[in-house]
């Protein structure tokens, strides 16, 4: 059995009378690309917030990167990466200022920020753009940079919350090549998306419906289980049931 980097057992979150996340139990193995899918309002964001140490669960158990979500949320925050399409780089800071800012949040030492930052710029061939404002760079480059910065502190696990929403088809595909590259270096990827073709790129998928996980397997097995040709059909079959 490979190492588990996320473990949850009956993880639950209630807001008053409303149960947003209803006793979910699942594991993610180290190095996996894990797709976290579901309709709007199914509870994905709430579940993710608990796993990132931003929201206390109502009941149940969960550990992320070996730390408990109740008592060690600060440890979790330092040991994961996070990126989303909405919450990304600061347009009115330069490339280097963004690197320093985020690396600082992850409490990296100044010497380490310098060396890791330089390496990052070299890999992305952005050394000449170091002093450019983020807002003046093309979207595709910003996207790559945002991902690289999210893993600058070399976390074992990175959360990507709809990283490709609204992105053009070429950039979207290049982004997934970066995800594979990170994954091949052993970083676990936990990703949400509304693009069903991207669901096919994941090692395993979980489908959330009304706060519960209603499907959890490899894309091939899910398609077989729900007698569907595509992940889009699987999604429609599962999400429709709840309407």
């Amino acid at each position: 059995m490979s190492n588990l980097i996320i473990e949850t057992e009956n993880l639950t979150k209630k807001f008053g009378e409303f149960t947003a996340v209803d006793a979910i139990t699942f594991d993610v193995s180290e190095g996996e690309i894990f797709g976290f899918l579901g309709a709007n309002g199914a509870g994905k964001t709430t579940a993710m917030k608990m796993l990132c140490g931003l929201l206390l669960p109502t009941s149940g158990k969960a550990s992320v990167a070996g730390y408990d979500v109740y008592s060690q949320s600060e440890k979790i925050k330092l040991n994961i990466g996070y990126m989303s399409q909405k919450f990304s780089l600061f347009a009115d800071l330069t490339v280097w200022e963004n690197i320093e800012f985020y690396a600082g949040i992850y409490k990296m030492k100044p010497t380490l920020i310098k060396s890791h930052g330089a390496k990052l710029l070299q890999e992305l061939e952005l050394e000449k753009q170091k002093r450019r404002l983020i807002g003046t760079l093309p979207l595709g480059i910003r996207q790559k940079l945002a991902f690289s910065i999210a893993i600058i502190h070399e976390p074992r696990l990175v959360f990507l919350d709809e990283p490709t929403g609204g992105v053009d088809p070429i950039t979207r595909r290049r982004f997934w090549e970066m995800i594979y590259e990170a994954s091949s270096r052993g970083i676990t990827v936990f990703v949400t998306t509304h693009y069903m073709d991207e669901a096919e790129y994941c090692d395993r998928i979980s489908m959330m419906v009304d706060g519960s996980i209603k499907g959890l397997d490899t894309p091939a097995n899910l398609k077989a289980q729900f007698q569907s040709k595509t992940m889009y059909d699987v999604f429609l079959k599962l999400a429709r049931k709840s309407v």
Partner: protein, 310 residues
Amino acid sequence: MKNSVTAYGISKSYTEQPALHEIDFSAQPGEIFGFIGADGAGKTTLFKILTTLLKMDAGKAEVCGYDVDKDFKTIRKIIGYMPGTFSLYGDLSVEENLRFFARVFESTLEENFDLIRDIYVLLEPFKKRRAADLSGGMKQKLALCCALIHKPEVLFLDEPTTGVDPVSRQEFWQNLKTVSGQGITTLVSTPYMDEARQCDRVALIQSGKILQIDTPENIVNSFPKGLIVLKTTENKNILMNELRKIAEAESVFSFGESIHITCEPNKKQELISIITSTSKGTISFDAQAKPDIEDCFLYYMQRENVKSDN
């Protein structure tokens, strides 16, 4: 002309990089006309110009025969506009929002109720709820109702389905078709390529330029390249890197579990045999595969990139 929207060479720049470059198109009365493109393509800028909220640098545009520059007051009365960001009053209830927007246009909720009936029945159980407390899908339905309540001649919907899951997106398009059936011309923008087929005609837009305008069927049928679609049992990324080394393969892209390869139409058979002989794993070709809008978008986008590099 009644209900139509026409643009002649619209250009607009915020910085040295143009946001829109010589945009020409004409939307016919009653049709659903889609602008398909990614963030930053210029969709919102174009909609702001057509709804008289932003001035263009050059060009001309008419909505229902009225000039967007000179006749902006008339245009504002006869169009409905749903911006990309939630723009209803969060602390008013569902019903209050609707009545408010009706009154702004000197109408009432009852006057054009037929137009929104099918959508409103889904909202009715929550009519006393504050708009801010609605779910994403419900907010979107309410916004559509508010844009329709004065029975506009032309409806502008800026990315109504962005960030919305596939099931809710399908529902939204069904609602929209009900509306469109009543003779309202609809201009809608989306970053989702698969929504092109929901429109009567579409413009593919990238970096402020229109790449192609036609019906979704014609765009797909006039795909100028040979397309090979295959699946493999070996590692897909390794195979894709191998395929990219073959001279005859012009583009190699991942599409879900498949790989799409384009080539000169007359090289297709030749390329299939090259691929078969180079690959180590088992490859299955999908002989029935046809290009979809995303194949076309990728092709035109690459062609445009090559042009601007030269």
